[in-house]
């Protein structure tokens, strides 16, 4: 067998190197396009919905909109002050979880609980502030007229409904999940009820770790 000429060997070697290089680019491009798989329980991934514009009013009379949530983790809960069971139970568990999360590197001092009342008819600013303060003084408590509330609930896939109970009384059916909103304003998880402090902490830790790395 005739030995290959020197120039042919050079050509073949160059071809192999070029092919390997092109293959590498192709593989890395493919890798960038493929979403990172998540095994985190309850994570809305790979396409967490972006928070749509909304404008509520907090218990201090200030505008409460998406920008207030930017750059911090927010645990948002819908409820109302006339709710005797699920709302105080959840807020007590959230406040207990937050006490622990204050030392969490991703929640820290900037993280917030947001309590959004779906009962603006009865929940004025004073009622909201007194109610939220009982659990933790830094809870953001806010509400808005029904149309504006629905912009937020629609964005989060949440629901609320007034249910008459006779004698002029009414209650509110409402989504009772805890909505985890990331610092770049995406809904990344919804923890379904009933809630406990430990479940809230566990969900936050897992979800925020994944989002910080891949979000």
């Amino acid at each position: 067998m005739r030995p290959l000429s020197r120039s042919l060997r050079l050509l073949m070697t160059t071809g192999v190197i070029l092919a390997a290089f092109a293959g590498g680019i192709w593989l890395s491009a493919r890798h960038a396009e493929a979403p990172v798989a998540s095994s985190v329980d309850g994570l809305l991934w790979p396409d967490p919905p972006a928070l749509q514009a909304f404008a509520l009013t907090d218990a201090e009379g200030r505008r409460f909109d998406a920008e207030r949530l930017r750059g911090r983790w927010t645990l948002l809960f819908f409820g109302f002050t006339h709710c005797p069971d699920v709302c105080p139970t959840t807020l007590a568990e959230l406040a207990a979880a937050q006490t622990t999360l204050r030392t969490h590197p991703r929640y820290g001092e900037r993280g917030r609980i947001a309590f959004v009342s779906v009962d603006p008819e009865r929940d004025d600013a004073a009622a909201l502030r007194a109610y939220a303060d009982y659990f933790a003084p830094d809870i953001i408590a806010a509400t808005a007229p029904e149309d504006e509330l629905r912009r937020l609930t629609r964005a989060l896939g949440a629901l609320f409904m007034k249910v008459p109970q006779g004698g002029g009384e009414y209650t509110m059916d409402h989504s009772a999940g805890i909505f985890f909103i990331s610092p770049d304003l995406h809904l990344v998880s919804v923890l379904t009820p009933p809630h406990s402090r430990d479940q809230i902490i566990e969900r936050f830790d897992a979800v925020s770790a994944f989002i910080e790395e891949h979000g």
Binding site: T81, H82, C83, P84, D85, V86, P88, T89, A92, E93, A126, A127, L128, A130, Y131, A132, D133, Y134, F135, L159, V163, Q165, E169, T171, D173, H174, S175, A176, G177, V190, T192, P193, P194, H195, S196, Q199
Partner: protein, 152 residues
């Protein structure tokens, strides 16, 4: 003053009834202290039928509140729904636990200050009988035996 205090009251927390509620034992009663501004509170307790016949609880009331009724929080697709429980039947030997996130006593518009450790009277009426009293202590947080219901 209607508020009673735990030191004396804990002795009364478990009570067995006679009449239409015969065999009914109400125990471990407590009320979550409502936050300021909230006119409603939820009461929790354990109801046991220690008798030999079925018991039907038809009504609850409290002299310490303007109105009281049995309610149940139900969850449907992550949505909390609070509904009136019109009557509650307990078979002989049956034990029903009212706890956060489930069955509870809805207590509306208190007539007294719900200070921690105050004892609240709850009158339970079974079919065609005189009411029997159970006692619920006001607490800021649940007793260890009554953590939120996370079994569902």
């Amino acid at each position: 003053m209607r508020a009673r205090h735990t030191v004396l009251g804990m002795l009364l927390v478990a009570s067995a009834a006679a009449g239409a509620c015969e065999g009914l034992v109400a125990s471990d009663g407590w009320i979550r202290q409502p936050p300021p501004g909230s006119p409603h509170a939820a009461g929790y307790l354990v109801l046991t039928n220690a008798g030999k016949r079925a018991i039907t609880i038809e009504r609850v009331a409290s002299p310490d509140f303007e109105a009281a009724m049995l309610h149940e929080t139900r969850y449907s697709d992550g949505r909390a729904q609070m509904r009136h429980v019109h009557s509650l039947e307990l078979a002989p030997g049956e034990r029903v636990e009212a706890r956060p996130g489930g069955l509870h006593v809805m207590l509306m518009r208190p007539r007294i200050a719900l200070t921690a450790d105050a004892l609240i009277e709850l009158d339970i009426t079974c079919a065609a009988g005189a009411p029997v009293a159970a006692w619920l202590s006001v607490r800021r947080s649940p007793p260890p035996s009554s953590a939120p219901d996370t079994e569902d």
